[in-house]
Amino acid sequence: MREPGFEEFADLWQVPEENEREVFEALARRARWRGRLLAYADISLAVAIAATVAFAVFSTPHMGVIAPALLLLALVTGVTWQRRKLRQMSPTLNTDDRFAFLESSIRNANVNLRRVTLSIIITPPAGFLTTVYKRSLKDEHFWEHPLADMKIWATSWHGLFGFTVLTVILTMMIRSRRKFLRERRHLQQLADDYAAERQWERETADK
């Protein structure tokens, strides 16, 4: 068999697949719908917050409410606008530089990793403290025998349900952490690949 040359590769590569257009058009419709939904969700959230603030102002119309309400309205409008701009910018960000793109992706993965690690550390003690607080509100003698009370709660249906929910949440967080670790590793590997490629190109150009 004759090994095809590069022009033949290009011809082979550009052969359209069966049903390509139909599938693509369906995906495009869905993408357009999702894009619009994202924009409407942003606006709806801003309108809902603004309506709540307006309701609060009309219910209690004095300066102590109006001033923070105006501040909040300005903040909501600003944040919504910024979110919209950022969402539009992110796909085109650092288009002309793969290193900058990978660097910002690694930074993003690092931020996600720190956030999820912090959540894993904080969630168990936060869950425990919330339970203690709730128990102490329910039972005014709680602080006389806290351990015994917590032991009873832990073996109750409420306790078992709480532990199950906490375990599920922690498992999901640990999975997310592993995912972000893997993503960061891949991104770093990619950055190394690009660096090696650039090094080879420099060396070849110098020769």
Binding site: E3, R87, T95, D96, L102, H186, R198, E201
Partner: protein, 192 residues
Amino acid sequence: MNKPTLSGTDPPWEERQPSPVKPATRRGTVDQLFEKVTSSFTGLISRIALSYEADAALRRELIQDILLAIWLALPNYRGEASLKTFVASIAQKRCISHVAKQSKEPRQVELPVDLVSATPPPDEIALKNDQRRRLVESIQVLPIPQREAIVLCLEGFSYGEMAEILGITPNAVMLRCQRAKGTLKSIMERRS
């Protein structure tokens, strides 16, 4: 600017520079541009996705992600580059992010034998199908920097356009394409 492919039929890079257009800030303009993207660049987007994802279901998800990213980015399109370059640039970056998020890279999934056509193939078509399958599989195992260069090369982008998309000089593009072609050929030879 030279064409990386061998045909030489496309107009020179300078002639293909788009005339500057206003930012597509109005929703109507974005709709029109998106319509143009979906009608003109179906193959380009599908094939860029194919070079990074062999699994058909995941590839559909990836194409949808690319289209969503294009839809969101279109209001920022100012016509400084051609729409094709803009689309290819976003598609490549979405694919790189997709690869980074995947558990394995590259995903090695057997491609269907009827990748080109579902109709019962005569010998010649069967041979072409087999060649295309080998080509796609070989591209999927190329290192990513070379893969994105070779895909743009196969799509007929000029070195100037590729330099814009990849963020390197046209000379570096030329070197990278040459290297990628060599690697691709050796992979294909090993596989045949």
